[in-house]
């Protein structure tokens, strides 16, 4: 089957294997089919040698977390993320993966009203204990909440879909921090309902591209600040995804919130730091894709007593957007490794700039907060 992969991209891999230890699924299974090198070889087998797309081949692709930890480890700069997204898109188009009901489950993300209604229903169901624990929903889902109100137009604050529905208090904290640094903030709310990352990861390329186009046309001029690492990575990739100049120009205006604030940290008031030992857990799409994770430390450092690093080389936590729901067993094993690294670091609290990671870790009993929540707490008590 033609997976529609670029032959040169596919050929950049020399099969050296240096990616293997940086792949969370290889780390927990030791199985070549669950490694970047193996997955690339399977792409070649399918595309070049016409190997059949068996359930095992689909599984090899479906079990990839798409953390892209293999990319910085690759001395030949294989664009693994793009290869995997294209592979999944072709397999979805041919009916090999992401069944219709899963595609349907992602549809509400693009429709704020539907998502809010769904969230309220989930909140009620969750409170009454109707939902299984392993879905990883936060204990306190909001039933009803007010949208954030603009305080100016210096910067956009991208609010997104699930995060706005489930963790709006993080957006509120981020907004207060930006305001303390002197910026007027315009929340994107329903203007750009969703970044399209989850759709893109699931191989639903058209949905993702439609959302990207919507965001680009709705959010003019000002820097677009994103406090969810997965969304930020996706939006920085719009240029590649749509292949247009306007998309590329938009992507250049997208910044992770810490990446932006690291340049303005002097504008924030000096306050008494929180008396906390904080472990920084880098979301993969901040560290491996955007590669701006050092900014998190620059921004947090003045506001907490102590920062501590994990000793796992930035290996994924297993959240991976919808991954923890679709592949609960692997996601749990991967998380066990992360929890081990966190325990060795003995922090009071873990800071992670991605809603997926924080919910996934919270499910294992690890107290995880957004870095902006900590800065806000230090500034505003």
């Amino acid at each position: 089957m033609d997976l529609k992969l670029d032959a040169d991209d596919l050929n950049t891999c020399v099969q050296c294997g240096l990616c293997l230890p940086h792949c969370p699924t290889f780390r927990v299974t030791g199985d070549e089919t669950m490694s970047p090198r193996g997955r690339i070889q399977l792409m070649r087998e399918v595309q070049d040698n016409d190997a059949p797309v068996t359930s095992e081949v689909v599984d090899a692709f479906a079990t990839c977390v798409q953390c892209r930890g293999c990319e910085p480890a690759c001395p030949s700069n294989v664009p693994f993320g793009h290869l995997m997204e294209q592979t999944r898109e072709t397999l979805v188009d041919n009916g090999h993966m992401t069944p219709k009901w899963q595609q349907l489950a992602l549809k509400p993300l693009a429709h704020p009203k539907l998502l809010k209604a769904g969230t309220a229903a989930l909140a009620v169901a969750n409170k009454s204990g109707l939902l299984p624990k392993r879905l990883g929903l936060p204990d306190e889902l909001p039933v009803r909440q007010k949208p954030l109100v603009a305080s100016g137009d210096d910067v956009w604050l991208f609010t997104g879909c699930v995060m706005d529905a489930w963790q709006r208090e993080v957006h509120a904290a981020t907004k207060r921090v930006l305001e303390a640094a002197g910026f007027g903030v315009q929340p994107t709310n329903d203007l750009a309902p969703c970044c399209g990352a989850l759709q893109s990861h699931a191989g639903m390329g058209n949905d993702a591209r439609n959302l990207a186009a919507k965001a680009i046309s709705a959010l003019a001029d000002a820097p677009v600040l994103v406090n969810s690492a997965g969304c930020g990575a996706a939006m920085k990739d719009y240029g590649h995804m749509l292949g247009t100049d306007s998309a590329a120009a938009f992507s250049k205006r997208v910044f992770d919130i810490s990446e932006f604030l690291a340049e303005h940290v002097d504008s924030l008031p000096a306050v008494e730091p929180l008396d906390l030992r904080v472990a920084v857990q880098d979301p993969c799409h901040l560290r491996h894709v955007q590669r701006v994770h050092t900014a998190t430390r620059t921004v947090l450092e003045p506001f907490v007593r102590e920062l501590v690093e994990l000793d796992d080389d930035g290996l994924c936590c297993g959240a991976g957007g919808a991954y923890s729901v679709l592949q609960p067993e692997l996601a749990g094993q991967i998380r066990d490794r992360k929890v081990g690294a966190i325990e060795r670091a003995t922090p009071d609290v873990v800071a992670s700039a991605n809603p997926g990671c924080s919910m996934h870790l919270a499910q294992a009993g690890v107290e995880t907060v957004h870095p902006m929540t900590l800065v806000d707490r230090a500034l505003n008590g």
Binding site: N11, D31, E32
Partner: protein, 497 residues
């Protein structure tokens, strides 16, 4: 609907592997191990037909992931009962084809046997399982003030079991010695399924050194299931320096002169311009991309003594025409320089998508001449050659880079490879520095060893493996090797069932 059902099945954990149902070997293996740890599907078997080398190995038979010595024993007994071959496998980073499956063998992947069992700091010993990753062990030991000295370029991936099988080296083996010097005892499951302990923790274990026989045997004698390694105290101080030269020849002469001056640096690594340019694009460590060659030198020990050695190395470099001598300012810069060196092989895809990495050793005094010859050979075959090597011990790693989609190029690559090897042997060198013989250098064993030598090696191997069923078709050329040929009669099977 089918998709929905398969997801439900997966959620309910009904998705145990089914490929191979009805095959008596697969069923016996699934009964002995957890069924989820025995795979027989086309995807798995095709992937495990490769390692990091350019050699194709036919197709793997059943693939097992044992967790314990007892499980490895069961696999061995099943293989014996059904007269099937066995190929042990670690991370699959070998470059001589040592882990490729010949004759549809049962592949025993030890990647899940990855526990560090015990660290005994007082006696400087660590017991580890064979699937422990080399760098993971060192990272585990670092806070205790120790490390595992052999540090192959693939150390972030490769396993201790693989290091033992290949007697692996690495940049720092110049001063510290290769794997053989760092392994005290090995628990081995023999092809019969029996367990033997080779070597021991005493300073001078009695009897023949069977531990030494096993190290470097490339999986032909059995499977290591536990390894007692020596742990090395971290040096109190380290100094890393980068010397740039106009030519590889000057860099090579500098290496000989440093050793001749009585200095034994921790590492002496040379990279030519093409390599330097490729790695610099990846790491951005500040490698001078306009220099014809660079020499990465490292000294470690007491602060006072390394100061003297480092200055002396700089002086020798300048005498040999170094155009720049730079000291790594801090640990970050040092780490970046090493990252560049250790990812050099992988970085070549920036130039061409395939590479054939050679591994020969020549006397240090002949380094420059052999390098000239290597570039002449590459030129004759119209190939690009890149050089990165453990200069201190004369271990050459010429890389021929190519695009296998180009018609006829593979033949040219192999012809050039053969000539490079012959040139090294003619210069008084040996077949392999650290990558092993595997299938790559089998046909050259005749050039290096006499018939008597090979017959003795074969008898030794048969003492461990009378049926020649573990990793058959490797190392010893088939003309000298017992039942390998019979064992390799391929079992034709449909892979993509």
């Amino acid at each position: 609907m089918a998709g929905f059902l398969s997801s439900v099945r997966r959620r309910l954990n009904l998705n145990q592997p089914t490929a191979g149902d009805g095959d008596p070997v697969v069923e016996a293996l699934r009964a002995a191990l957890d069924p989820s740890r025995v795979r027989y599907d086309g995807a798995e078997r095709t992937l495990l037909s490769h390692d990091a080398s350019i050699f194709d190995g036919g197709v793997a038979g059943p693939v097992c992931y044992p967790l314990t010595t007892a499980e490895v024993q069961s696999v061995m007994r099943i293989a014996e009962k059904h007269t099937r071959n066995i190929v042990p496998r670690g991370a699959g980073t070998g470059l001589a084809g040592g882990a490729i499956p010949l004759g549809a063998p049962i592949v025993v992947a030890v990647t899940r046997m990855n526990n560090i069992i015990e660290v005994d700091v007082d006696n400087r010993i660590a017991w580890v399982e064979p699937g422990v990753v080399n760098l993971d062990l060192t990272r585990h030991l670092m806070p205790l003030g120790f490390h595992f000295a052999p540090d192959p370029s693939s150390q972030q991936v490769c396993t201790i079991g693989g290091n033992v099988a290949n007697n692996s080296g690495g940049p720092h083996c110049l001063a510290y010695g290769v794997t053989n010097a760092h392994v005290l005892a090995i628990e081995v499951v023999l092809p019969s399924g029996e367990v033997a302990m080779l070597g021991g923790l005493d300073a001078e274990p009695a009897g023949l050194d069977l531990r030494g026989v096993f190290i470097g045997s490339e999986g032909t004698l059995g499977i290591a299931t536990k390894v007692a390694v020596r742990i090395t105290p971290n040096a109190p101080a380290v100094k890393t320096m980068l010397l740039s030269f106009d030519t590889v020849r000057n860099a090579a002469h500098t290496v000989s002169a440093i050793i001749a001056a009585g200095i034994v640096p921790a590492a002496l690594e040379v990279m030519d311009q093409r390599i330097t340019q490729a790695v610099e694009t990846y790491v951005g460590a500040g490698y001078p991309t306009d220099a014809g060659a660079v020499l990465l030198a490292e000294v470690d020990g007491l602060a006072e003594s390394i100061e003297i050695d480092a200055n002396r190395i700089a002086e020798i470099g300048r005498e040999q025409g170094a155009i720049e001598v730079r000291f790594a300012a801090d640990e970050t810069e040092r780490a970046l320089l090493w990252k560049g060196r250790k990812t050099a092989f992988g970085a070549v895809a920036q130039i061409a998508p395939d590479y054939y990495l050679h591994d020969t050793v020549v006397p240090r005094s002949r380094l420059a001449d052999v390098l000239d010859e290597v570039s002449a050979i590459a030129e004759r075959h119209d190939l690009i050659v890149m050089n990165v090597f453990h200069a201190g011990d004369g271990n050459l790693h010429p890389l021929l880079v190519f695009d296998k989609r180009e018609p006829g190029v593979i033949e040219r690559v192999h012809a050039a490879g053969d000539e490079i090897l012959t040139a090294s042997l003619n210069a008084g060198g040996v077949l392999s520095g650290e990558h092993g013989v595997g299938v790559e250098k089998q046909k050259f064993m005749d050039l290096f060893f006499t018939d008597d030598d090979l017959a003795h090696q074969n008898r030794l191997r048969q003492a461990f493996d009378p049926g020649c069923r573990t990793n058959p078709g490797k190392v010893i050329p088939s003309g000298h090797s017992c039942a390998d040929i019979a064992a390799l009669k391929r079992v034709p099977r449909e892979v993509w069932a």
